[in-house]
Every structure is written in structure tokens, then in C-alpha cells.
């Protein structure tokens, strides 16, 4: 039972992070390798707002969420906008550079020590006993619920929302989308904003649950195989991929070797790339586009 709970929690973490990769890739064909760093930045933003909104945790969280949305849009406007139309590789390397820059800046501003935004906000994190004998910490439970809500929201938004339809159109064929009067830069900026927002929510919840260190970027990177296993341009795929990666990781830690935890996602990734590179739910012609 505890094993199942662990799998669900880890999968929820990966799923919440992976949808950020999928959003940006689906709309602009850019792989954002700075996603882990942006996610950590979101967590640190919560730490910063917790200090300035002392005694009002809801306001602090709301402020951090809004700030992270702004960060994503700013990243697009000031950096990635210049890379539209460039080689895909150049854009990816730009995100790598951005990640390096952010990592340095975050250590400079907030130091490399472990921080506890949960304490700063005055939250306790009691474990909840589940029927069947498993236990789950409060914030892990909130994280699972948040993931479900985010995915539900994204499905509705992309299916029925005006901007969601625009995002899908831009992803399918940028040229025709632009012809129809869709503002591509606005759509891309929105994708970056939403991606950073969801990533930051994951970062904040992980930080509230288990503290905040500079190793958080590793989690961000490990969520990437989840996105790719499911298919880089499919949200359903990200969900399924996260479940596969989460289960593989938890089971191998439990039954084989705890040291494996950092490699298992990548082993699954390699296997997937050999067997079915476009992922479980991805579109096949994606491979020829990059």
C-alpha cells in the first residue's frame, strides 16, 4: 500500500513538471532544458514572498504563483523570442545557458543551504493515514490533487478555450496560424508562462513538503523522460509517462538498489528511444520535424 502511495506521489510530481515540457514543445517545438531551474526559481519565489507577506500564507502563495507566470512570459519576451525561427538546437542550447545562469543567480541570492518555506509560512505538514495502511504527508496529498486539477484545467483550456485553440493551431502549423491572424509571439509567451507556472507550482509544493535545496533541478531533469516516454507533444502521454517513470523508479529503489533512482528514468528513456522514439501517444512525424 505504501508502495502504491509512493508511486502515485512521485508520478504526480513528474506529471506536474512534465506538462511544462509538453506545453512548450507542443506549441513551439523547443525543448526547455531550463525547466528544472525555472521550477526551482518558483520555489524560491515562494520563499521570498513568504518573507514579505508574513502572516498571510494565502497571499504569499498567490503572489508567488503570479510572479512565476510573469517570469515565464519575461523569459520568452527577453530571450526566447530572439530564438524563434533560429535552428532548434540553438534554441535548446539557449535554454541550457539560461538554466546555468539561473542556477548561479539562485545560489547567489538565496545561498545553497536547505530552506524550509513551509516553516516560513507557518504550515505544519502532518502525515495523513489512508485506508489500507498507507501514509501520505499533507502536502504530497495536495500535490496529487493539484496535478489532477492542473491536467483537468489544461485539457479544458486547450480543447475549448479561445487561447487554447490558438495554442494548438500555432503548434500544428505556425505559418497558417499566423495567416489566420493569430499572434504567434503572444501564444508562445503564454505557453512559456503557463509552463513556468505549472513547473513552479510543482517546485513550491515539493519545497513545502520536503524542503528546498539546489538538488531540486535534478527532479526537473528526471521529469523530462516522463514527457518523452509519453510523447513530447501529448498531455495524456505526459500523464502516462509520469506514471511509468514513477513506478519504475519507486520499484527499483524498493527492490534493486537505491542508487538507481537517478538513472532509472534515463534507462526507460533510452529503451523508449530505441523502440518507439516518438513516444506512446506522440505523433510519428514529429521525428522528422526537428
Amino acid at each position: 500500500m505504501q508502495l502504491a502511495v509512493n508511486i502515485v506521489v512521485l508520478s504526480a510530481i513528474y506529471a506536474l513538471i512534465a506538462c511544462g515540457y509538453v506545453l512548450i514543445y507542443r506549441v513551439s517545438r523547443v525543448l526547455n532544458l531550463a525547466h528544472g531551474e525555472l521550477m526551482m526559481l518558483g520555489a524560491y519565489l515562494l520563499l521570498a514572498t513568504a518573507a514579505s507577506f508574513a502572516g498571510n500564507p494565502v497571499a504569499a502563495i498567490a503572489a508567488a504563483v503570479v510572479l512565476s507566470l510573469a517570469v515565464g512570459i519575461l523569459v520568452y519576451v527577453f530571450l526566447m523570442r530572439k530564438m524563434t525561427g533560429e535552428m532548434v538546437l540553438a534554441a535548446v542550447l539557449t535554454t541550457v545557458a539560461l538554466g546555468t545562469l539561473l542556477r548561479g543567480l539562485m545560489v547567489l541570492i538565496w545561498s545553497a543551504q536547505q530552506q524550509y518555506p513551509g516553516q516560513a509560512l507557518g504550515f505544519a505538514n502532518p502525515a495523513i493515514a489512508l485506508p489500507g495502511g498507507g501514509r501520505i504527508s499533507t502536502f504530497a496529498a495536495i500535490l496529487v490533487v493539484t496535478t489532477a486539477l492542473v491536467y483537468g484545467g489544461l485539457f479544458v483550456f486547450l480543447r475549448f478555450g479561445r487561447w487554447g485553440v490558438r495554442m494548438r493551431a500555432a503548434g500544428q502549423n505556425p505559418l497558417l496560424a499566423a495567416q489566420r491572424g493569430i499572434n504567434l509571439h503572444a501564444v508562445y509567451a503564454l505557453a512559456w508562462g503557463l509552463s513556468t507556472l505549472t513547473g513552479s507550482m510543482a517546485g513550491m509544493l515539493i519545497a513545502l513538503d520536503s524542503g528546498l535545496t539546489s538538488s531540486m533541478t535534478v527532479i526537473g531533469l528526471k521529469a523530462f523522460p516522463a514527457a518523452l516516454v509519453g510523447g513530447l507533444d501529448s498531455l495524456v502521454g505526459a500523464l502516462v509517462g509520469a506514471l511509468i517513470i514513477g513506478a519504475a523508479e519507486v520499484l527499483s529503489i524498493q527492490y534493486i538498489d537505491p542508487l538507481l533512482s537517478d538513472v532509472v528514468p534515463f534507462l526507460v528513456l533510452i529503451a523508449m528511444l530505441i523502440v518507439r522514439p516518438w513516444g506512446l501517444f506522440g505523433t510519428r512525424e514529429e521525428l522528422d520535424r526537428v
Binding site: K82, L89, L93, G104, V107, L259, V263, F266, L269, L273
Partner: protein
Amino acid sequence: MSRGMPRASGYFRTDYAQDLALTQTRLERASLLAFAVMLAAFPFLATAFYLDLACQVFLAAIGALSLMLLTGYAGQISLGHAGLLAAGAFTAGILFREFNAPFWVTLPAAAAVGALLGIVFGLPSLRLRGLYLAVSTLALHFVVVYLGGEYESKRGYSTGIMIDAPTIGGYAITNGRVWYFVLLVAAAATLLICINLLRSRTGRAWRAIRAHETVAEALGINIAAYKLLAFVISSAMAAVAGALFAYYRHFVSVEAFSLFLSIQYVAMIIVGGMGSLLGALLGAVFVTLFPYLIEAALQQLPNAQSYAGVLFAVNYAAFGVVMILFLLFEPLGLVGIWHRVQHYFLLWPFKHRPVAGAGK
């Protein structure tokens, strides 16, 4: 044959010997000789600190050249270069620890392991392109580093593997000056191999693949074979660089081969300039010296001591900024700047090349 020719004013080669020569003009030969003399004199003038810097530059140059062959010429992106360096270093370390093997066994062994890994790294490239290939090499990096870490922890070398200095006929290479010349020769040999590979059939095939795979295949180039060859050669070179690194440092540890190292090597070929061996060398110099420049710059600031703890963070941030600046404003890299400066002087006092056919 040694007829002096003015630089860059035309194509004067009239026989194969001239075409095969590495230098074309007297000025080129003279400047090459002057550069060689400078390199040879350097260790007798420099302090131990600068000697160490030069050795690091040579090691980085070998790695950067090998990555340039793969990415800059064959067009196959790799984000797992540090994994290959780690493989070479660990091959040397493990063979030395387990079998007490001398360096003339471990270096070829490292090359062989590198070549083998090159096939493994390269296999996805037969099906995948661009982004997906980069991702598969990234994944393999983690696997290699994990295996190295596993060996360290299982054999009880949790802090790293110590390696003795290599010995030739009873003489151990420990002196910094000797190391300088060993690494200089290694880097020069790598450069020569790269130059000759690139102007041979292999190099032309790689460039064709990079330019357009389908057309290259239509021209009769065996795409799969040449892609794998690029991975094999580049990985073998990188592994040798890793093994040399292990001997130079007397020490192997997985900590040295983080993802950041891979990023640094990619940065070398971007900052240097894609598709140019000179670019790989310039990039290696720049990226290796950059942290020291940052440190020196921080020393100039008031109360320098207070920055000592955050030095690595400043490095990361500055490194990211430099990479972004090059990607945005100078995609051709340092080589692009160098060529522009050259053109400026070649065309002086004019500013622009004449438009073709404008004089008629």
C-alpha cells in the same frame, strides 16, 4: 614547391603536393614556426600556476576537437560528452587499480572503450535526429556516470580512485614541464588527425551528411556507417582525453564529470564557432580560462574575501550570460570575430567586399 605566395588572393595550387601541404604561404609557415617556438618556450618562463592552466587548456582542446568533429562537422549533437571523458578516465583508473596496468595499456584500452561507447551512443543516431539524439546522449551520460559511481562505492573508493603517475623506462612523469610537453604533443596530434580526417573522404562524407542527409545518401554515402564512424572516432578521442586527465590529476571521481562539464564542452564549440577546428581550440582556451578570469576580476573588487564562498555561483551565472550572448549576437563564435578582423585588414581601406560582377 616552397614558392612563396601572397595570402588569400586566389587558388594557386598546381599539383597534388601543393594541395596536400598544410601551409600554403611563407607567412603562414613563419607564423606557425613562431607560434611553435612560443609554445616550446612557455614552460620555461611560466610559473607552476600558468603551467597547470596550459595543461588544462590542452586537455580541454582534445575534448573540444573531438566534439567539434561530431557536432560541428558530422552534425550529430551530443550532450553526453562528459560521459565519454568519464568512461576514459574510469577505464584508466580501474585498469590501474585492478590490474596495475601501465599507461601504454590503459590509454589504448580507454580508446577502445570509448570507441565501443561511441557505437552505443551512435546507435540512436541511426533512427533519431536533432533534439531526440541530443536527449539520448544526455541519457547515456547519466548511465555512464552511474556505472562509474557504482564501481567507486562497491569497491570502497567512495572518495575517488587514486592513480600513480605514468612511468616510461623507470622515469615517472610528475614534473609539470614534462606534462606540459606530453599534453602539448597529444593535443597537436589530435589536431593533425582532425585536419587530415576532415580533408579526406571521411570528412567530406560527414559534411555532406550535416548539410543534407537525403542528398548525401543519394550521392552514395553510407549514412549509417559514417554516422557511427563519427561517433566512434570522436568518442575514442574523448576517452583518451579522459584517461590523460585521470593521469594528470592522479585521481578519478564521478564528481568531476557532471552534466555541467558536458555543457562546458558544448559551450566551447559554440563560443569558439561551429564547424571550425580553430574554433574548437579558441573555445577550449576561452572556457578553460574563463573561471580564472572571473576569479581575478572578483579579486579586484573591494572586500574580495567575502566573495570566496560564492565564486562557483558567480561562475555559473557569468558562464550562462556569456553563452547566451554568443548564441544571440555572435552565432559564428570567436572564429567569426577573428575572420571579421582579418577581413577588415585585408580589405583596408575599404569596408565591404566588392559585389561579384559589379565592375563590369
